[in-house]
Symmetry: none
Subunit: 416 residues, 2 copies
C-alpha cells in the first residue's frame, strides 16, 4: 500500500514556513509499513487543489491532506474534496460541542465562521482534535482512503500519531513490520564508502541500503520488512555486520546520535573531565558540548585564545614557540592542549589552531589545522589536517575531527 | 511565469530530513516575481521521477529540481531528464577540474564515480558549485526552463542565490524591477510589531509589507515593483520611514545582517576590543563572533567558565560572591565581565551566567539569565532576563540579548 501527502497552504509556496508535516507523517507511516511515494504542496486555490487530488488518485491509494480545515475563507480542503467526490458536508455535533467548549474555556466569543470547522465529510470517521478546534477525518471511497488533518503541527502531530495511525493500521493490515537503522560514519567520503560496499548495495533488496552525505558525514539507512519484528531486526543485524566488517573503523554510532554525543558518552563513562583551548574554532567545540544537558559533569571550561597575546599570557604558550614555529603549528597545538588542561585542572586538554580563512596566516594556506590532544598519564599527540570548503566548514569539520580523534584515543586507552 | 520545485530523494519521503530547499527556493523566487504553484517530492526512482517531470511540464513553465546530482548510483536526476528530453550528457571540463582540485586540496583520492558529477546536460548553462562538487545547470527546451540544483543546502543555497536567480531573472524580464528590503527587529514580539503598523500593512499593496518571525526575531520584508529601479527604491524608502518612525528603536539592521554582525561593525568602527566570560552560553557568543571573517581585530578571546572552580580560579570571582549570591547572580555576572576584560586586556568584557535547564540551579528557575557588560571608562552594568523555551533557545536568545544590549550601550557612549 502506498501513500501521498498533500499539504495545502500558500504560506508553504511563499517559503514562509517549512513543510515539517510531510516529514512527520512520512516517519509515522514508515513505522506501519506504508510507503510514501510523493509529497505535494499546493496553495489555497480550489482548482489547483482539485488537480492535485486527481493526480494523487491516479498514483496513490492513501491520500493524506494537511491544512485548510480552519475557519477562514481560504480554508477549502474539505469543501473541494466533498465536491469532487459528490459528498455532502454535515455538522458533527461532537466536534461542534468541542469547539464551543474551547471558546468557553478561553473566555472568547465564538464567531459564526467557527461553526464551519465542525462540518465533516458525510460518512467519514472523525479524528478528535485535542489541541485545537478543527477535527480530522478519514473517508473510504472507491479504492482510496482519504485522510484530512489540520495544518498546525501542534494539532496535527498528536492527532495523527494518536488516532490517524491507528485508523490506517486497521485498514491496511499488511502484517509487515518495517524496521530502520541508521549507521553513522565519519572520516570516509560518500563515494569511497559506497565503493567499499557496492556489491552489498547491489545485491540487497530487503534490507535496502541507502547512503546519504551531509555536513562532512555519511550515513547508511538500512530498512528491513518482515512479518516478524525479531526477524526484521535479525536481518538488519546481518547486513550491519557485513557492512561494518569492511568499514567499521569509520562507524561512530547509530540512529540519532552525533560525534559530540558519542564523545560525551565516552567521557561520562570513563569519568574524565575535559578542557579546550580554541583558537581557530573560537569556542565552537565547547558550545557544541554544552548544548547537551549534563555537559557540566565533563566540561570544566576552557579558553578562546584568539590572539597570540592570550595564547602566551593566559595559556602560557612559550614566546619562543610562537616566534620559531608560529601559532599554526604542531608545537603550539601541543602546548595549548597540555596547558589548558593544567589551567582548569581537567583530565584531558584539546586544542584547535589553524587557518579558517579567508586569508592565509603565517604563510600557511587556508584549511591548515592542528589539533592537540593531551590525556592525563599519556604523552600528548597532535593531528594535522588539511580541510577544504568555507570558513564555517573548516571550523565545524575541525570540531568533528577533534571529536573523532579523541574518541579513538580514549578507545585505545581503554584497550591498553 | 510560474514555477514548480521538485525535490528528489528517498530520505525526504522516509521523513529523515525536512524539505528546507523548497522553502529557500520559494522565498528567492518570490523576490523576483515568479509564482510557485506546486512543490513535489519524489524518491530516487527513475519511473516516478519521470512521471513527476511530465506532470510538472503540463502545469509549470519553470521546473526546478534539487537533489540526485551526487556520485552514487541512486543519484539519477540528470540521467532521467536527459533521457526524457532526448539530450546527451557531456563532460564539463571546468566542473571536472573543480572536482579534481577539491580532491587535491583535501589530500583525498578521487574515485571513478566522482567523475560522473561533472557530466552535464548538453547545451545547458552551468551554475558553478563553490561549496561542493556537483555543478548545477539550466536548460531551455520547448516552452520550459529546467534548472538542476544539488541537494545539500550548503551547496544549493549559495549556488541558487548567486547564480540561479540571476540566470532566471534574465529569462523572465517582465520589464518590471522587483526590489526587496528586509527590516530586522529584536526586542519586540511579532504580534506587537504587527499591531503597531497594522494600518500600514492594510493600506499598502505596492510596496507590500510581509511580517515574519523566527528565532526570537521579527522581520518585515518590503517589496516594491516598478519599471524604474530608482523609483522602486524611493517607494521602499518611504514605507521604511513610515514604519521606523513608529518602531525604529527595535530595528537593528537591513537585509542579510544579524545582531552579531551589527555588533562587530560597532566594535570595528569604534576600534574597541572585546572579551567574553561564558558560563550559560558555553562559548556560543565567541563562536558566533568568530564565524565572521575579521573577528580577530575585535575579539581578544575569553573563558568558558563552566564550573565554579574556573570562575574563581581563572576569572577571580570572589569565593564570597559565589557563596553569598551564587553564580547565577547580578554580582557574579559583574565580576565575570570586569575580570575577563582585565585578564586578556580588552576594552570591553561581556559575561553570560544563568540556568539553561533542564534542571533549575541555585533554586533559580530555568531561563534565569544575568549578563554583565563592562566598557572601559564606564561603570559596569548587569541585565537580568527571564527567557522561555528550550535549553538551546535560552542559550541562543541570551547571546542575542547580549548583542542587543551591548550595541545600545555603545550607541549611548558615542552620543555621550
Amino acid at each position: 500500500m502506498n501513500a501521498e501527502i498533500i499539504a495545502v497552504g500558500s504560506e508553504l509556496l511563499l517559503g514562509q514556513i517549512v513543510n515539517t508535516n510531510a516529514r512527520f507523517i512520512s516517519q509515522q507511516l514508515a513505522g506501519i509499513g506504508i510507503n510514501v511515494y510523493f509529497h505535494t504542496v499546493v496553495g489555497d486555490n480550489p482548482d489547483r487543489l482539485k488537480s492535485a487530488l486527481e493526480i494523487a488518485e491516479n498514483r496513490s491509494q492513501v491520500i493524506i491532506f494537511t491544512g485548510g480545515l480552519g475557519p477562514t475563507k481560504d480554508d477549502l480542503t474539505k469543501e473541494t474534496i466533498a465536491k469532487h467526490l459528490g459528498k455532502k458536508l454535515v455538522m458533527d455535533d461532537e466536534a461542534l460541542a468541542s469547539i464551543e467548549s474551547f471558546f468557553n474555556k478561553t473566555n472568547r466569543v465564538m464567531t459564526e465562521n467557527n461553526r464551519k470547522q465542525a462540518l465533516v465529510l458525510d460518512g467519514s470517521y472523525i479524528l478528535p482534535n485535542h489541541h485545537g478546534m478543527a477535527p480530522g477525518m478519514m473517508l473510504e471511497a472507491g479504492s482510496h482512503i482519504y485522510m484530512l488533518l489540520p495544518g498546525p503541527p501542534k494539532e496535527m502531530e498528536p492527532m495523527f500519531s494518536q488516532f490517524g495511525i491507528a485508523a490506517l493500521s486497521e485498514k491496511i493490515n499488511t502484517g509487515e513490520k518495517i524496521v530502520s537503522r541508521v549507521l553513522r560514519y565519519f572520516g570516509i567520503g560518500e563515494a569511497a564508502l559506497e565503493t567499499e560496499i557496492m556489491d552489498l548495495i547491489d545485491q540487497q533488496s530487503n534490507p535496502t541500503i541507502a547512503p546519504l552525505a551531509a555536513d562532512g558525514e555519511c550515513t547508511l539507512r538500512l530498512t528491513a520488512k518482515h512479518k516478524d519484528y525479531d526477524t526484521a531486526i535479525k536481518m538488519l543485524d546481518e547486513v550491519d555486520l557485513a557492512i561494518n566488517s569492511r568499514v567499521g573503523q569509520y562507524c561512530y554510532g547509530y540512529d540519532n546520535t552525533s560525534l559530540i554525543s558519542e564523545l560525551m558518552k565516552q567521557l561520562t563513562g570513563s569519568n574524565l573531565t575535559i578542557a579546550a583551548a580554541e583558537s581557530l574554532t573560537g569556542g565552537m567545540f565547547q558550545q557544541e558540548l554544552t548544548r547537551l544537558p549534563g555537559a557540566s559533569s565533563v566540561l570544566k571550561g576552557g579558553v578562546v585564545c584568539y590572539t597570540n597575546e592570550v595564547k602566551h599570557q593566559v595559556l602560557k604558550v612559550k614566546q619562543e614557540t610562537i616566534e620559531k614555529y608560529g601559532v599554526v603549528s604542531r608545537e603550539c597545538a601541543e602546548e595549548l592542549a597540555v596547558n589548558v588542561a593544567q589551567l582548569v585542572a581537567a583530565d584531558i586538554g584539546i586544542s584547535f589552531t589553524g587557518v579558517a580563512g579567508p586569508a592565509e596566516l603565517e604563510e600557511k594556506p587556508v584549511g591548515t589545522v592542528y589539533m592537540g590532544i593531551s590525556i592525563k598519564g599519556r604523552a600528548p599527540i597532535v593531528k594535522k589536517l588539511i580541510i577544504g570548503g568555507t570558513r564555517e566548514a573548516i571550523r565545524s569539520r575541525s570540531v568533528k575531527w577533534g571529536c573523532h580523534h579523541l574518541i579513538k584515543q580514549l578507545q585505545e586507552s581503554q584497550k591498553a
